[in-house]
């Protein structure tokens, strides 16, 4: 066993063997996936091979090429036969972006947000209300001929959803500015519940949300006259949004703002003493985190073709938190891996396991495994907190080496006349 482990580690670190090994692995698993599109194991192997590629010592172009091959060729080809696979991947991209967004708030800025799903709901509802016949319920008669909005409005609605979600983030951020960690968590939870109660009850006096019944028939996006209403098109929109989110996160973490958040997270008092405006950066964290969730909410709405308050419960917020905690707070790779792992667990492994068990041992209906997601999320949180607080893939925090900073200073002074003489 250790022999295999050593060989694997050696291969992955050897710059000559690594790309060949990674490429062969991806090719093999991809072939398996394409030949057996309904095989869950094949999909798991593809995911594992992508993880191995991520760890291999090759140039980022090789990694990128392999990732493009899998996401743009293998999955769509396999998904042509097995629609559930594409559907799973759309949900996976949504969850990746949500986990990244929550990771910004909790991991970068250290503000535990237990109502994160509220912003997602905000984005979903904003588009659904105007992009369906629901708009006829509350818009004045003179404007009704404009609704439901056409599919190209989807693109225009993305910035609007982002704005609305960010505004919701602001309304949450303002009252909680003075609160410390645990109190803040409870208030964000209350905020999330308020949004859910509003979604459930705003069907009267004016029918904005259609209450618990939810909104159906949401206009799918269209591009240059083409209706993008297939799961595959949502898949591509999902990839683009998830990649944009990941890029934005990568830049944010290394920005001045990101460093201010890190300082705030580590020690609020010290950060304030260093001149960091806590009010500004806390609000920015809430608003930025919310904005990403708002955009993904729209994709969720068109993917489901249906929104209802049930999709935005406290459990969903905890599910995203479990992804972030599992991967590692403050770690971008961690958030992605956590999101992939939890989504696959939720939508694939639990179902397969239940099917398998129902065929073999005939469990009583009380032990219907897919029903027990809360239990699994709960266990993830407890076990991770007790045994591995830093998560599976702890982030390498961008560090500024003080010794390096010192060697850098004299360089500046080479043009100057003298140093403190």
């Amino acid at each position: 066993m250790s022999g295999i482990k050593n060989w694997l580690a050696g291969t992955l670190q050897d710059p000559r063997r690594a790309p060949i090994f990674a490429g062969a692995l991806v090719a093999l698993t991809s072939l398996f996936q394409v030949l057996a599109p309904f095989n869950s194991l094949a999909f798991l192997l593809v995911i594992v091979s992508m993880l191995v590629v991520g760890k291999a010592a090759t140039s980022k172009w090789v990694k990128l090429g392999l990732a493009v091959l899998v996401t743009l060729v293998v999955i769509p080809v396999a998904g042509r036969q097995n629609g559930a696979l594409t559907y799973l991947c759309v949900q996976m991209f949504i969850n990746i972006a949500l986990a990244l967004g929550l990771n910004l708030v909790v991991g970068f800025a250290g503000l535990l947000d237990l109502g994160y799903i509220a912003f997602f709901a905000g984005g979903a509802y904003v588009y659904s209300m105007f992009g369906s016949r629901q708009a006829l319920e509350f818009m004045p008669e003179s404007l009704q001929h404009l609704f439901p909005l056409g599919g190209w409005w989807f693109w225009a609605a993305i910035p609007i959803a982002i704005f609305v979600a960010a505004f919701l983030g602001l309304t949450l951020g303002l009252p909680v500015l003075r609160l410390r960690g645990d109190y803040l968590a409870i208030v964000t939870l209350g905020f999330g519940e308020i949004i859910a109660v509003l979604a459930k009850n705003l069907d009267h006096p004016i029918n904005l949300t259609n209450g618990a019944g939810g909104i159906v028939g949401i206009t799918p996006p269209s591009l240059f006259g083409y209706k993008l209403d297939t799961t595959l098109s949502f898949y591509f929109i999902g990839i683009v949004l998830a990649i944009l989110t990941a890029l934005a996160m990568y830049r944010l973490e290394r920005s001045r703002t990101g460093r201010a958040w890190a300082a705030m997270r580590e020690d609020e008092v010290a950060a304030r003493a260093m001149g960091i405006n806590l009010t500004k950066y806390k609000l920015m964290a809430f608003m930025a985190g919310a904005a990403f969730a708002g955009a993904m909410g729209m994709l969720f709405a068109v993917k489901q073709n249906f929104v209802s308050p049930d999709s935005f419960s406290f459990l969903e917020s905890i599910g995203i938190l479990a992804m972030v905690i599992l991967g590692g707070l403050g770690s971008l790779e961690g958030a992605v891996v956590g999101a992939v792992a939890v989504t696959v667990l939720k939508l694939l492994i639990l179902k397969d396991l239940a099917d398998f068990l129902s065929m073999t041992v005939k469990l009583p209906p009380a032990f219907n495994i897919p029903q027990y997601q809360p239990l699994i999320f709960g266990l993830i949180l407890i076990v991770m907190m007790i045994y591995r607080q830093q998560g599976l893939l702890p982030g390498r925090r961008p560090t500024e080496d003080i010794a390096q900073l010192e060697t850098r200073t004299p360089k500046k002074n080479t043009t100057g006349k003298s140093v403190g003489a």
């Binding site: 250290g110 535990l112 237990l114 009252p175 909680v176 003075r178 609160l179 410390r180 960690g181 645990d182 109190y183 968590a185 409870i186 208030v187 939870l189 209350g190 905020f191 519940e193 308020i194 109660v197 509003l198 459930k200 009850n201 009267h204 006096p205 008092v269 406290f314 459990l315 905890i318 938190l321 905690i325 009583p364 209906p365 009380a366 032990f367 027990y372 809360p374 239990l375 999320f377 709960g378 266990l379 993830i380 949180l381 407890i382 907190m385 007790i386 607080q389």
Partner: protein, 316 residues
Amino acid sequence: MSESLQILPQVLIDGLVVGALYAVVALGYTMVYGVLEFINFAHSEIFMFGAFIGAEVFLLFKPMTGVPHFVPLIIGLILSMVMAGALGWTVERIAYRPLRGAPRLVPLISAIGVSFFLQDIVRMVWTAIRGNWQLGTQDLYATGISFAGAQIQVRSVMIMGIAIVLMLSLSIFVNRSRTGKAMRAVAQDRATAALMGIDVNRIISITFLLGGALGGAAGALYTMQYTVVNPYIGFVMGIKAFTAAVFGGIGNITGAAVGGLCLGLFEALGSAYLGPLTGGVLIGSEYKDIIAFSLLILVLIFKPSGLLGETVGEKV
């Protein structure tokens, strides 16, 4: 308007009964917060577990029509207190103690995990043994008496009476007994208390035991009041009881009692009069939960120390 005034006594009594339940649950939050500065998120599930134990005991006595109602009541109360106390103690041992000294959010996240875990375990167990996770039980003391134009059920009076007895005994225990004194010492300064020879871990365990027992008692009383329990009753009750604890001043036992009663009254008044006041636009009962959440947010913004709490400076 005269019509709305007529229902006022009824509204006040309903509010006080619910408020008494909030108060007893709030005690569990406030005690743990006082000692550990930690929000025991799983307390709501311990309450829910107590409610299930109470429901099972009441159900057990349902066929025995000859038995007076105080027998299942007392047995249910004691059993749910013992079992819920034991659960509270166990949870602390497994999920919180290893995390002592970790950053604040770590035990909180663990507690959220415990909360979901317990919720689902209860659902699983009762689905397995009863075939349904919703459990209806028998009416205890359902007879009504008329008083000042209000219809009061005997059980409402009993619930309030039991809640007051529980709160008074806790108060006496904390203020008069030796263990209570040790608890207050640990709450004030854990390190110094340890230096004075107090076994801090033992005191923390006792706090969770007592808090859990109170939660369990509140659960049994809840079952008595509403007669139907399910695994999800803990969540809303937990938030409201926590609001009550914060409203009264967290860490303060009298504060929890006052906060609970106030919140119960606010809610009852809100659900009864929000509709008439807004001309029927908003239906009070639908926005009842928002009253509690908004109160929580407002208190935390304007007076985080609560009604009876003292302001504590941030430790650097």
